[in-house]
């Protein structure tokens, strides 16, 4: 495969200059009980000074392993088995432990994926930045402290001086990621490896941080090796793309070229699936008129979605199935001693959901969108206002009436790892709601499980497996099947696809769309990602700080967003600057 790959050559780099980083036929394997399992199988790539190169692929494609191999951060059993990593002409794979330690941080910086777990919880922020500065001999003593403040300020923490003594748990995810970026750039390295630096963050925060990272690296002339699973994001942030699949490079070249004309079937699937790109395509298809259709890959997610988007306008039912009027939720947060702080998580929110439609509730974390879901599901009591379901006031339902309501409104949550009981096999998990509501005989329940597994496109044999044996996408299918077990009218999908890889995300969205058509379901779709909204929702409610700032149909929101906040969210979808359709 590697012979067919054309090594990316940058237009802006002088062909005579030596590349900053050159990986040649890299092979990495992990030692297991069953011998060495290869994770990276002959990867080659070239990165010139001042350039940004993105490695794209799904989880397990070997992109992170490739990046970690560069500065030998491989976990215990991982080993480079063949190939060369030339950094400024020096082969990093041949360096001693002491020599590679000198390269780390000083010449090659690293920004890890998950800001929540990558700062040591027991040391304060200032300490953790300062030790990087001292270790790389950027500054010592008092100067190191001043440099620490400067580094953090540059990374976007304006109040760095006051927060040096604070601990990671006192920072938000976005702030922690800024700290990690600060650490990665603290010694002004020549190369920065950014491994999914924003996957765990909100879209708006993601955009701010990537913009900031882009500015910093441009100012310092730092090259960036960017790892991501989102092709849209990669193409927006990097000039060069390397697409990896199962440990191999399947395609590489300038971003725009790959996006416009993907050669490898896997790349084509990635281009078709990435919600960020798909939502942009739908938008450009609308403006381009009939000519736009050619850009959709055949039989892909898009075709179904576009067809549905057209349908939507036609079959609008007259009456709201769920009608929410002026609901508020006040939390009292105990601070010190007997004092309370009041937090208005949901502030005077009203909207309606029509039968058979999908209403999306969009906003960043802390906007109160999940609280609204909990209020509708009757998992939390409302402070004031009214929630009507099918003409009936549901606030304060008790006993049998509440149980009956729950049968008709079912949730699917974000984390498919956390929402399934690891001790329950799939069959029992799906049958549990039936058992809880005492529906059918054992035989009937089994038939229903079979039917449900079929609906979510999982084989019947899956029923004996346990959550730990399934992939994230499979688990989320199980969660959907469980929610459907009681034949509900409404599904409340709280960030139901946010934790999944793009390809899997596409599959689940497709499944949800099909099920909606088939079963006449009504969805309340809660997400921070407007790109996903574009694909599935009929109506959008944009939430900010507990309030709904904009309510409109999806088309309206995307065509002329009224509020500045909505515009900001829209701009945060990666891939805004691409030209689709030749």
């Amino acid at each position: 495969m590697s012979q067919t790959v054309i090594e990316p050559v940058s237009e802006n780099a002088d062909a005579s200059t030596e590349p900053l980083l050159q990986i040649r036929d890299l092979e990495v394997g992990f030692q297991t009980q069953h011998g060495v399992v290869p994770a990276v199988r002959g990867v080659s790539l070239t990165l010139y000074a001042g350039q940004t190169l993105a490695i794209v692929g799904e989880s397990g494609s070997g992109k992170t392993t490739t990046a970690q191999a560069i500065i030998n951060l491989l976990a215990g059993t991982g080993k480079i088995t063949a190939g060369q990593i030339l950094f400024e002409g020096r082969d990093l794979t041949a360096l001693s432990a002491k020599e590679i330690q000198d390269v780390r941080g000083r010449l090659i910086g690293y920004v890890p994926q998950d800001p929540m777990s990558n700062l040591n919880p027991v040391w304060n922020i200032g300490f953790q930045v300062e030790e990087a500065i001292k270790a790389n001999n950027v500054a010592q003593g008092k100067a190191a402290r001043e440099r620490t403040i400067q580094v953090l300020q540059e990374a976007g923490l304006s109040d760095a001086e006051d927060r040096l003594k604070q601990f990671p748990h006192q920072f938000s995810g976005g702030m922690r990621q800024r700290v990690l970026i600060g650490i990665g750039l603290s010694a002004r390295p020549k190369l920065l490896i950014a491994d999914e630096p924003t996957s765990a963050l909100d879209v708006t925060v993601q955009r701010q941080i990537l913009d900031h990272l882009g500015t910093l690296t441009r100012d310092y002339g730092t090259s960036v090796l960017f790892i991501t699973h989102d092709l849209g994001l990669a193409a927006e942030r990097a000039e060069q793309l390397v697409v990896m699949y199962k440990g191999k490079v399947v395609e590489s070249g300038p971003s725009q070229e790959i996006l416009a004309n993907p050669q490898h079937p896997y790349t084509q699937r990635l281009v078709a699936a990435a919600p960020s790109l798909a939502s942009r395509r739908i938008q450009s298809a609308k403006t381009a008129g009939a000519g736009g259709e050619a850009i959709f890959s055949e039989g892909s997610l898009d075709a179904t979605l576009v067809a549905r988007a057209a349908e939507r306008e036609a079959d609008a039912a007259a009456k709201d199935l769920i009608s929410i009027q002026n609901i508020s939720k006040l939390y009292r947060i105990r601070t010190k001693g007997l004092k309370y702080n009041e937090l208005l998580a949901v502030n005077d929110v009203s909207f309606g959901i029509r039968k058979g439609t999908t209403t999306a509730l969009v906003g960043e974390s802390g906007s109160g969108k999940s609280t609204v879901a909990k209020l509708i599901l009757q998992l939390e009591s409302i402070t004031s206002g009214q929630i009507e379901f099918d003409g009936q006031d549901v606030a304060g339902l008790k006993g049998a009436a509440l149980l009956k309501f729950r049968r008709r409104v079912q949730p699917v949550f974000q984390d498919p790892y956390g929402s399934l009981d690891p001790q329950y096999n799939v069959g029992n998990t799906i049958a549990e709601p039936l058992l809880a509501h005492k529906i059918g005989s054992s035989k009937e329940r089994q038939d229903r499980v079979r039917e449900l597994l079929d609906q979510v496109s999982l084989p019947w044999a899956t029923r004996y497996r346990y959550p730990s044996e399934l992939s994230g996408g499979q688990r989320q299918r199980i969660a959907v099947a469980r929610a459907l077990a009681l034949k509900p009218d409404v599904l409340v999908l709280d960030e139901a696809v946010s934790a999944l890889d793009v390809l899997v995300q596409g599959q689940i969205l497709n499944l949800l769309t099909e099920l909606q058509t088939e079963l006449g379901l009504t969805y309340l779709f809660i997400t921070h990602d407007l790109a996903v909204v574009r694909l599935v929702a009929d109506n959008v409610c944009v939430m900010q700080k507990g309030r709904i700032v904009e309510t409109a149909s999806t088309d309206e929101v995307f065509d002329n967003p009224r509020e500045a906040y909505t515009q900001e969210l829209l701009a945060a979808i990666p891939g805004g600057n691409f030209q689709f359709g030749r």
Binding site: I71, L73, A75, G76, A97, Q101, D102, V103, R104, G105, R106, G109, Y110, P112, D114, S117, N118, L119, N120, P121, V122, W123, N124, E131, A132, A135, N136, F167, H169, L180, I183, G184, A187, R334, K336, G337
Partner: protein, 309 residues
């Protein structure tokens, strides 16, 4: 933090009364008559027994006895043993010896346990790790008295490096061998705890990030692995300090040390209510304080733990 400490100290009051009442009741309901037992086979005149009973308040109902005892306790009068020695005297002799023994054992097990556990965790699967695991398993499964007798025989009898029995003053150097025996089982647990904790933390994301910063291996381990790994170890040490203070009966027996364990054991056999209860009361206080210390150390090691309420 001050609030929290104060609250915890206040919590000691009900614990103190509950524990002493319970122990008093249990000693009270032990079968047999302690006074009659004192005289053995030759019973004294009936009047004498009655007189002694009245002297020790044994003729009053249980709850009255308890309150008389507690009243005296707070005036510093812990009562006397049935042989006439003040209980406070017995305590003043036994507790310092046991405290020396316990602290010595604690220091040994903490230092060597963490050291061996750390090295084993860093070299997981290698020879050192495997040997440490085997040795710790051996120490856990062999009873203390066997280890005690073996060490006593080897070091005291054969090599003559230590005394077989400890003198009544029990200075630190004589207590070294008993402390070693006492520390052996806990040492094994600490090795295993530290090892597991270290090898977990070695795989933590923040350790990888620390390495990526360009820190030396020594610093990564010393600063980012060790401190995070100590939290479970400290918990164990705190609880262990409590049990070392109160439960060294076997070791004290082997080396003939007149510590707390042996004294309480004798007092229970004689049915000496005041002696048993007084010792237990002090032990309860030690235990609660040790636990409080652990909780405060927790917060010092892990800033995420803050006792607000």
């Amino acid at each position: 933090m001050l609030w929290y400490t104060g609250k915890r100290l206040l919590q000691m009051i009900p614990v103190f009364f509950g524990a002493t009442l319970l122990i008093y009741f249990m000693v009270f309901s032990l079968p047999g008559d302690p006074i009659a037992a004192l005289y053995g086979d030759r019973p004294p005149a009936p009047g004498v027994i009655e007189q002694i009973r009245a002297q020790y308040n044994l003729d009053k109902p249980f709850i009255v006895q308890y309150f008389i005892y507690i009243g005296n306790f707070f005036q510093g009068d812990l009562g006397t043993t049935y042989s006439g020695r003040p209980v406070s005297d017995v305590m003043a002799k036994a507790f310092p010896i046991t405290a020396r023994l316990a602290l010595l054992a604690l220091a040994i097990e903490a230092f060597f346990g963490i050291l061996v556990g750390l090295i084993a965790g860093l070299r997981k699967g290698k020879f050192f790790d495997a040997s440490a695991l085997v040795v710790s398993l051996l120490l856990i499964s062999v009873p203390t008295f066997v280890i005690g007798f073996v060490l006593q025989y080897v070091f005291a009898v054969k090599l003559g490096w230590a005394r077989t029995t400890v003198s009544s003053e029990a200075p630190f150097n004589e207590l070294l061998l008993p402390a070693l025996v006492l520390a052996s089982v806990s040492f094994a647990y600490i090795v295993r705890l530290t090892r597991a904790s270290v090898s977990d933390n070695l795989n933590a994301d923040f350790v990888r990030t620390a390495t990526a910063k360009g820190l030396s291996r020594r610093r990564v381990v010393g600063v980012h692995v060790l401190r995070n790994s100590l939290v479970p170890v400290v918990t164990f040490l705190g609880v262990d300090l409590g049990s070392l203070m109160v439960g060294a009966i076997v070791t004290e027996g082997i080396f003939n040390i007149n510590g707390v364990g042996g004294t309480v054991y004798k007092a229970i056999k004689l049915g000496e209510g005041p002696t048993v209860v007084s010792f237990i009361a002090v032990m309860v206080v030690i235990f609660v304080l040790a636990n409080l210390l652990v909780d405060l150390l927790y917060a010092a090691l892990d800033p995420r733990i803050r006792y607000a309420k």
